[in-house]
Symmetry: C2
Subunit: 453 residues, 2 copies
């Protein structure tokens, strides 16, 4: 039998999991990974905590190191730029650090090219120093620059463009370091992809209570020498800053695929086995577009990279694996508050033309009489037929398992009725006797039955 | 239309939820509750925390007070003893505190007679002072007696018979008060109904690390004037104690039903609508027997009382509600450790003649590189066909949502494969990227595929 040659472009979670799974499926495959990164594979999700100081050393977040790659017999080629793919001849052309042109032939190719930070059009930005939190180099830059600034002046100003997950995690990290933080978000709500308006307001209130300023519906129009002009709700305002972080979202990196004639929409289009439109070429992770609850989505989160990477790797190495749907199950910890979401928001469903019903419910995380309980709000979104479309949870304990519970329900098409019938566990220090998710499901049922009348 | 007369025997969670749900379904029903309790409805699950001092006042655990009953127009008759039921004439006969004989006619009757503490045969016990943690009177007795003892001598000895949920929660409460605690459990493992041997060993180790002595496979044979004779693994030993707590399990209180000719097995036999064998008589809560994962069970836990009570109340008041299965989803907090279980253990499945497969997996509760992670062990039990039968979880954070996730999976017949495919949420401070339950499900799958080969 001939040895299979597998080339993987990208060494993030998607690429590495593809390599690992390929190795599991084929002990003899010749696996080559090409990456522009100078670092071994690290966890990008950990970067805000490296800035905030919860994690002490950069080395700690290297999750797959040199030893790992050699033990798995995966050839990792770092600091190279892949220039083009010739799918007819099955060749990848790339340049090394010294601009030497090189080629690598493949039997199967996996594109795990990731995503890049979207930089919105801001007047004067090209002349100003700014940071993104997209890779470890950027993270290192933020840490050294912020140390320099704060040494000069504590309470210096950090301006963050973007109130999504990364922007807010960055805001808490910089606040913790000692900055005076202002977050400017263009859309009318923070975490717009994760939460409906009513939920997002609770998060905003908490964040502001933690001493972080948040301006929604506001646009950074111009920057010049540490002074920003912001078009806010109440009119234009000027804001001085010492540090500028752009976290206005990410976009799938699809250039290579597009140039090679591989089908690309917002991301590289893949099927359930992570196959692209071209034979023997797979894609996974942030660069891929996949079916979501309301149509095609570009998840660009770690868990999808992990899962789609495993799927691509298995299939590319002759195995069998597939994904059904991407739910964008996500959670973040902002100070003490946990914010989680899965599937579609009510507002997204409405925008998608779906006649959905949503219900929220707030209770204590513990029995009312047990001390130390904290408020927990859950919100469920379901179809007219009572099928769960999405869930949102805000709380200070026991949020993770609950959002996973909702993910399992959506993945397995479990109805709102079944969720309301959940036989939950109960102990006064750990939960109310009536599970908040079941109560919210019951409220959805009630609304549905009223609609039917 | 005639007013329906509904009589409920018992004012615990089952009885009250039945009354509440009956009221929801029938605004005009004449609802009478007869109870031997002198207290309004309290949370028995809260009693260990009243002893331990986490909850300060007895009043705090009264979850349905006088005002509640009057606002719901439910007539609560306390401190009465129901003597008999005449199902032919639809009459309940009872005695009040002054032994006056009384009668109450009914259109529908709900038996929520609860359970009683099982007292094992121990020589000399009848001459000794001992306590049970079955009701608020017993709890008050424990608190005043332990205050008295500890005032005289700190580090006094508390001997607890039974290493189940109540015994262990009682052990932590008495330890917290200042007792030197010894738990004696007859079966070879603690929490025998909840955990397989391998899991139970981890809990035992933790409990012992907290300074509580635990003797499994040991029997309290004799007590005399504060001295106990225990038949232990290593032979008979003598142990002095100042306080004796019997927590050797509970039994459904079925006497009334049995005497009235209602079908009783280990508990009062009910169908999915909580109907007994006699028309217009329902049963719910601790006194009822219901179908479980491996056959009939007597759940005797708060959540079943809550759910079966609601079901009985709805049906008795002309509504429609039913339960499918009782999973015995349960969780407890012992010191900092959370122990949870749902469905059948591997050992119970084996005993039931089922060819089950079990897998355990231990990981950190957070990303490996994120500080403050704690060990979490999960164990799944599934059928040869890959259907989940049960799950057990031990950890120090985020256990509740995970056991509920497993409950939803069993209730909705979700396969091990689907659990391994769960799209879990991930954030370094809150979870590993690979959900432990999914990893354990993958291990089960691997075992199953090896069995097939």
């Amino acid at each position: 039998m001939m040895t299979v040659k597998l080339v993987i472009v990208g060494s993030g979670a998607g690429g590495v999991m593809a390599a690992v799974e390929a190795r599991k499926n084929d002990k003899d495959a010749d696996i080559v990974m090409l990456t522009k990164e100078k670092h071994f594979t690290y966890s990008p999700c950990a970067m805000p905590f490296l800035i905030g100081g919860e994690i002490k050393k950069e080395d700690d977040i290297i999750v797959f190191n040199e030893k790992f790659f050699s033990s798995m017999n995966i050839k990792l080629v770092r600091e190279v730029e892949v220039k083009s793919i010739n799918t007819a001849e099955k060749l990848v052309e790339y340049e090394d650090k010294e601009k030497n042109k090189k080629k690598e032939g493949y039997d199967r190719l996996i594109l795990a090219t990731g995503s890049y930070a979207f930089i919105p059009p801001i007047e004067g930005l090209d002349k100003e120093k700014f940071f993104t939190l997209k890779n470890l180099d950027g993270c290192e830059g933020i840490i050294s620059e912020s140390n320099r600034i704060l040494k000069e002046r504590s309470g210096a100003g950090a301006l963050i463009v973007g109130g999504g997950l990364i922007g807010l995690e960055g805001a808490f990290a910089l606040k913790k370091k000692g900055f005076n933080v202002l977050v400017v978000e263009a859309s009318p709500k923070i975490l717009p992809a994760m939460l409906d308006r009513e939920m997002t307001e609770k998060v905003k209130e908490y964040i502001e209570g933690q001493g972080i300023r948040v301006m929604t519906g506001s646009l950074l129009k111009r920057v010049e020498k540490g002074r920003a002009l912001i078009a806010a709700n109440q009119g234009d305002i000027n804001e001085d800053y010492d540090m500028l972080l752009i976290a206005a979202g990410t976009r799938p990196d699809t250039k290579l695929a597009r140039d090679a004639g591989i089908k690309v929409d917002r991301g590289i289009v893949v099927d359930g086995r992570m196959r692209t439109s071209v034979e023997d070429v797979y894609a996974c992770g942030d660069c891929a577009e996949f079916r979501g609850v309301l149509g095609e989505v570009t998840p660009m989160i770690g868990t999808f990279a992990f899962r789609s990477g495993k799927t691509a790797g298995a299939n590319a190495a002759g195995g069998e694996a597939s994904l059904d749907i991407a739910l964008n199950t996500a959670i973040t910890k902002l100070g003490g508050m946990m914010v989680a979401s899965v599937g579609a928001t009510g507002e997204a469903a409405e925008k998608g033309g779906i006649n959905a019903v949503s219900s929220s419910f707030t209770s204590s995380s513990r029995s009312e009489y047990y001390p130390g309980g904290t408020p927990m709000t859950v919100r469920l979104v379901c179809t007219k037929e009572g099928l769960l479309l999405g869930a949102q949870i805000i709380g200070f304990e026991e949020v993770l398992g609950r959002i996973n519970l909702m993910a399992l329900a959506i993945q397995n098409r479990i109805s709102i009725k079944d969720i309301s019938n959940l036989e939950n566990a109960y102990a006064p220090p750990l939960s109310p006797i009536d599970e908040p998710l079941s109560v919210a499901a019951g409220l959805c049922l009630k609304r549905l039955s009223l609609q039917l009348k």
